[in-house]
Amino acid sequence: MSDESTTYIAPEPKFGYPAGPKLDQQIKARHRRGQFWYVLLGASLIVSILALIALLYTIVNDAFGLAAVEYKNDPTRLVVEQQEKVMLADRDTVSSEDDRELAAGIMNDPYAIGFFGYAYYQQSSDNLTLLAVDGITPDAGNVEDGTYPLARPLFLYSDARVLENNQAANVFINYYLTHVNEEISDVGYFPLSAGRISQAQQTWKQANALDLPAGQWAAINPDGVGGSLSIAGSSTVYPLTQRMLERIKADGFVGDTSDESVGSTAGYRAFCVDGAADIAAGSRPMNQNEFASCRKIGRLPLEFAVGTDALAIVVSAQNDFLTAVTADELRLIFTTAQKWSDVNPNWPDQPIKRFIPGTDSGTLDFFVETVFPIALDELPQPTLVSILADNVSPGLGRRMESEQRFFADQLVFFSQEQWAEACDGATPYAGCTLPPRAKDSVLQLLNENVTEPNIVAVWKLVPSLLNRAAIEQEALEKYPAASLQFTSWVSTAFLRSPQSSTPELAGVRTAVLGSLWVVAFTALVSFPLGVGAAIYLEEYATDNRLNRLIQTNISNLAGVPSIIYGMLGLAVFVRALEVITSGTAFGAVAAGATANGRTILSASLTLALLILPIIIISGQEALRSVPNSLRQGGMALGATQWQTIWSHVLPSALPGILTGTILSISRALGETAPLVVVGASTFITTDPTGPFAKFTTLPVQIYQWTSRPQPEFQNLAAAAIVVLLILLLSLNATAVLLRNRYARRAA
């Protein structure tokens, strides 16, 4: 320090700082600036979070939603028909469209059971016992609110133009809607609530272009009204309609009426296909196909709810063991069980006598649809096979069976002799040796050859939820033959089905399996190499030029774009080492495999090189965190360096190494570009069988679907993304669990 600076005391500089109110202002201004930027910082963080939300939103929005599907054969119909066929085929089953006949049959046999409309039960309630279903005995309350499982609404259908031209029909419906609730309980059904009746009245008012406020009703006096009126349909609605006809005639109606009890389906046919009936009566709502038929002949069906029926499950009054059944018992009683004791060992060892309505009756359909599962994939395999057998030509059936049999012990389309001859012949069928088909495969055949679904339009999730009514309207107008279904594009079928060019049948099975194979081999190759390199660099490498070069090189490799690895894989593994990667060197090429070098092995080796730097770097970090004292301790006991590493250093670095490895595996799982370059197949439907198989992976599949212009493929891509993200999430969760578990143990 010089003399000057030790003695020199600087003069006060001019006082230059703000003071008093100015200081206050200055500080406030600075805080305001800080506040502004703080808001900006938070906003930028929110942008990232919003991006994440938008991404997930887009995926979920596309992975679920309404789809309009046209079937060549409606699967629900197929199931119901099949089930009815089974029920009617039994020799102990009596079937009649006349419910009185059924009631009479049951009355006299203590081991009989049957079902029909509630009205018929009431007529003979002295001789019949009404059963509770799932603990609920039908009464006005539980039928109206739908808690009784076998309750159903009753409908009349007509058309605005019919009502305009046929005065008799118009007046009759008006009269029906005016007085039905006064008669219905007496007939044996349950009245509608005021709200539902007024809804039906509203429909009538609209059809007549009457602009009356809601709740106001214009009852027409039928006195003197005449004309011709034809009603056809449900035997359930029939007694009610009969009652209304009697009453309207008593009130002076002079029309010429015909009322046929032919069953709902026949009634809808008469109204929609033949156009013969003016009014159709139904005990189930009209379905999409019937609606479409109606539109074809220029009728737009108007729906009038008139009451609620409950299906009565009855036994004879002489029956002393039954007062209640469950839905499960009902299923058994009306299908496979032969004797009562088959259903419940406490019940008598006597054959079950069944009395059921015929196929033309809506009652049977209603029973089947309510009591049995009606989704194809819920049916047992034999049922599926019989549906298939009923709906394909014998030639096609034999081709399917020759590819793979349906049952191990039974033939469906072939006779035993034909089969034996073919299998002993020079060119036996593939089906001779293959195990029988799984249920999935039968389902797939059904979808491809019988139901043949065709998605004609799709809607995203949010509009599906918010604008359901508008979508239904649009679907009805544009795709009258299609049924509108809420579709989860991610489903078990989606996971189990292979790739297909028909979006409704396509799945990710091939891709998921491909991904798993590729990732497994990648891990198998990269884990030992990566950990080995990490050990070398951390434990053995001295600080020389070569080792520094290796280290620098590894960090540079981590920054090389993944597609470059794809080019490397293409030139080296796919082309140069084709003999090895295609499996020809090992004689391992399966018959018909034309993968060249574009195999799972090539893909795995490419991805292994890609994630190697990441594994090495994370492995090094894990090894570095092992305290040196551990190494010295091992050495001091006379262990060699490798012994020390193997028994002391590696075990305590292992959780870190595994975490890093799992994270890089998840990177490999999501990798797309290099696999496209090394030649993931664009379209394969067979499961990969080993390292030399051609393959596709989940991300590649997503890429291909995303590149297709049709909207359904975007839904598929979204569904596949959901699957991919779930796979990744579970991998990462494993890593986190592993880390936490070992971290706790170490602590």
Binding site: R30, G34, L41, T58, I59, I550, M567, W642, L669, T706
Partner: protein, 327 residues
């Protein structure tokens, strides 16, 4: 054991001189050789990449119809009919990376400042894994996002006439979103490495939180932040799936003077295939080895490799320099 009475006898054998000499341990040596080979594989990988790319690229440039001059100055890329100007692909790559950077750098940096200077430890514990989730989503999913979300959004803002279905802007913005977590995490590391005492000094002089963050902490961590930016650019340049899905499937060939500069050549709302997008599209199709297309994608690959390598080396340099300041 505690009651053991007799003391074991002290070993009385003498060591022979030989027993202390170094013995060859064959097992140990083999293991070391194996471990060394593991380490050296990375070198072979690099050499492999360089050889493979260079070999095929040389074959490409040796083709009579290809000239280096046209390659770097031509504005049309149509190998099938003899146009070999790589500029349209490079231009799309630069535009998308540029748009990505405009999105990612400010958001990523500001988020990093928030996380390192403002967020409470609890908030950080929630937010950082959230960003990791963003970083762990495969790029093909981002591609889907660009096509199904960003493009419709852009089209509804700027008009269906203005914005093509495949466009550079949508891909660029989503590339930006993809690298936000990268920028954030690297920048946050750099900012967190700034010693606490520096912040305290700034506060003790009457600095506000923002003044301290912006004028003291950020300059101190600047080299790390810069390195993060460079790494991010390299990542954007090499990004493939987003651009392959959302940016377009054909090079934006143009003619200077004929095509409108901002209406077409630099228009972000028009489709444009990048280098990576082109490589993945060509190799995804049925490709016959040694065809012009096959060789051409290796030339593009080499160019891409060199570009990203230079960027990564720059980043490493900056980081090394920044380490010196603090150690």
């Amino acid at each position: 054991m505690a009651t053991q009475s007799s003391v074991p006898p002290i070993a009385t054998e003498t060591f022979s001189a030989e027993s202390l000499t170094k013995r060859p341990r064959i097992g140990e040596a083999l293991i070391q050789v194996f471990l060394f080979s593991c380490g050296i594989i990375s070198i072979f990988t690099t050499i492999g990449i360089v050889i493979v790319l260079a070999e095929e690229a040389i074959k490409f440039f040796a083709l009579p119809q290809v000239t280096l001059l046209e390659y770097f100055t031509g504005t049309k890329w149509q190998p099938a009919i003899g146009y070999f100007g790589v500029l349209p692909l490079v231009l799309a790559t630069i535009m998308i990376s540029g748009i990505g950077m405009v999105v990612a750098l400010p958001i990523g940096l500001l988020t990093a400042i928030y996380l390192s200077e403002y967020a409470s430890p609890r908030a950080r514990n929630i937010l950082k894994p959230l960003l990791e989730v963003l970083a762990g989503i495969p790029t093909v999913v981002y591609g889907y996002f660009a096509l199904q979300f960003m493009t419709p959004v852009l089209r509804s803002i700027f008009g269906v006439q203005q914005v093509q279905i495949f466009n550079v802007a949508s891909a660029g913005i989503v590339v930006g979103i993809l690298i936000i977590p990268l920028v954030t995490s690297l920048s946050e590391d750099a900012l967190s490495a700034v010693p606490r005492s520096l912040r305290e000094a700034a506060y003790a002089l009457g600095g506000t939180k923002w003044e301290t963050a912006r004028q003291i902490v950020l300059p101190a961590g600047l080299s790390g932040v810069t390195a993060a930016f460079v790494v991010a650019i390299s990542r954007a340049v090499g990004e493939t799936m987003i651009v392959a899905i959302a940016a377009g499937s054909g090079p934006r060939n143009f003619e200077i003077g004929k095509d409108s500069l901002f209406g077409f050549i630099f228009n972000p709302f028009v489709a444009g295939e990048t280098m990576t997008g082109h490589m993945v599209r060509i190799s995804g199709g049925d490709l016959s080895y040694n065809s012009v297309e096959y060789l051409s994608i290796f030339s593009i690959g080499l160019l891409l490799f060199v570009m990203t390598l230079i960027l990564n080396l720059i980043a490493r340099r900056i980081v090394t320099k920044y380490r010196e300041v603090y150690e």
